[in-house]
Amino acid sequence: MKIRVVLPPHLRTLAHVGSELQLEMNTPPTQRSVLDALEAAYPMLCGTIRDHVTQQRRPFLRFFACGEDFSHESPDTPLPDAVVNGTEPLLIVGAIAGG
């Protein structure tokens, strides 16, 4: 299956990709498995979305899909069907901060 992922602009620059990318996955898509696949395909992103050691999501990033915030879900919770079947992308969003 192909999973669509949208990165924040700075990470698109690092990964040399456009506004949306697709990941080929053979395992059920979860936050963890999508990030594993993303980092395998774009290793320059290692450490930018989740900490190298703890694997925790960086505090100023969020995971949105289908109009919902999945950031506080378990990383092993299956993503929505619309993401699995490619209808909707997984959005990795940088917090708007600074006033």
């Binding site: 924040p8 980092e39 395998a40």
Partner: protein
């Protein structure tokens, strides 16, 4: 004619400023890594086209960047654009961003906590790279000073990093605590006259020295006096802001939180040389490339007011190794100037007429091509400048 290349790291990207030896007409490129904080960039003296950059962000963490063509193009070491994303043996690239503290049973297990602001013990947590120091002999060897304070070394051009854990592990580590800017290892001096000798400085722990390529370390803070800690002459706990090496063997200068200091014995002991400075608080300090006793500082009003006295931006120069300081102001703002000059934002070139450079939090980068007598702004309106380094090119 020789040229100079100035590498300016700012809050919103990096800028490269180049000029010929006159240093009066400048070409400026950037922003490189637009939108990211560039705490430090530095070129290798073994290969001037080899540059290293520390790119970081509160959102996305730490990235190491490298250029092999003098800053025209950049890549993350080990992950050049268009190449395979795994290395030989299937090892994933992207290792260049990974700074893992030593947790090995042999050397790393005891290195678990340092002192926190409230006096309790706190785990070491990697945040960013403050300073990159390339080896003068090998362009693929580079050191990184990081927050929380530790020293790392790469032997493969920045592709992978290993901690020199003898620094954190020599015994005083649990007493280190963060300064207002975090607990950062911000100064790395590779002593060219003592092979294998490395100096580091940490806020707020002090200065440290290794004589065996970073394997073993000891504090070198004898003579420092810090009234803001319970024991003003403690072995560690001093907020050293920067250390600069003189061309003369064993001669070092230090800008401490308060006090300008010198050491004539490689840091074994220090003496205060603040002399007639109007205030001895500040961040930067540097030494003339050819005159071992000529030192430069930028006095800042106080630790509570990080701007020049009376709104006048002035560099002070001592030609006697301290104590007697001369105000240098020609070409610098005479009024209404309330910028700061951060600890890595001053440098000197190696031309016969030594050039002095510094950057401000107001976005100016100043140059004096005549050792400080006359100053002019290369640029006025960059983002806040975090670091300034210069390369002297053939």
């Amino acid at each position: 004619m020789s040229r100079v290349r100035v590498l300016a790291g700012t809050r919103k990207g990096a800028f490269i400023l180049t000029a010929d030896g006159k240093r009066d007409q400048w070409d400026i490129t950037g922003p490189h890594f637009a939108g990211w904080e560039l705490y430090h960039l530095k070129g290798s003296s073994a290969d001037p086209n080899r540059l290293y950059a520390s790119q970081s962000s509160g959102w996305f963490g730490q990235i190491i960047q490298r250029s092999d063509d003098g800053g025209k193009t950049w890549f993350q070491p080990g992950t050049p654009p268009g190449e395979a994303t795994t290395g030989p043996g299937g090892m994933p690239k992207g290792e260049s961003n990974k700074f893992l503290y030593d947790t090995s049973a042999q050397t790393g297990k005891p290195l678990t906590t340092h002192q926190w602001y409230d006096g309790t013990q706190h785990p070491w947590e990697f945040k960013r790279v403050w300073h990159l120091e390339p080896s003068p002999d090998n362009p693929d060897v580079v050191y990184a000073g990081v927050e929380d304070a530790a020293l790392f070394r790469s032997n493969d051009g920045g592709k992978s990093w290993q901690e020199l854990s003898g620094l954190r592990g020599h015994g005083t580590g649990p007493k280190w605590q963060p300064g207002a800017g975090g607990m950062c290892l911000h100064t790395i001096v590779l002593d060219r006259q003592h092979p294998g000798r490395i100096y580091t400085a940490i806020s707020a722990a002090g200065a440290f020295r290794s004589d065996d390529h970073g394997a073993n370390w000891r504090p070198i803070n004898k003579g420092l006096h810090s009234q803001y800690i319970p024991d003003p002459t403690a072995e560690v706990g001093h907020c050293v802001h920067h250390v600069a090496a003189s061309p003369r063997k064993d001669l070092l200068f230090m800008q401490k939180h308060w006090d300008v200091m010198r050491s004539d014995n490689g840091g074994d002991s220090w003496s205060e040389v603040s002399g007639n400075l109007p205030t001895d608080f500040g961040f930067v300090i540097d030494v003339h490339a050819h005159e071992p006793e000529t030192v430069y500082v930028v006095p800042i009003k106080s630790d509570g007011e990080h701007f020049p006295l009376d709104g006048k931006l002035r560099v002070f120069r001592s030609r006697s190794g301290g104590n007697e300081w001369q105000e240098l102001s020609k070409g610098l703002p005479e009024k209404n100037c309330y910028v700061n000059v951060l600890r890595d934002a001053m440098c000197v070139d190696n031309l016969d007429s030594c050039g002095i450079y510094f950057g401000t939090t107001g976005g100016q980068v100043y140059v004096s091509p005549d050792g400080g007598d006359h100053w002019s702004a290369i640029v006025h309106d960059l983002p806040p400048v975090l670091s300034v380094e210069v390369q002297t090119l053939p």
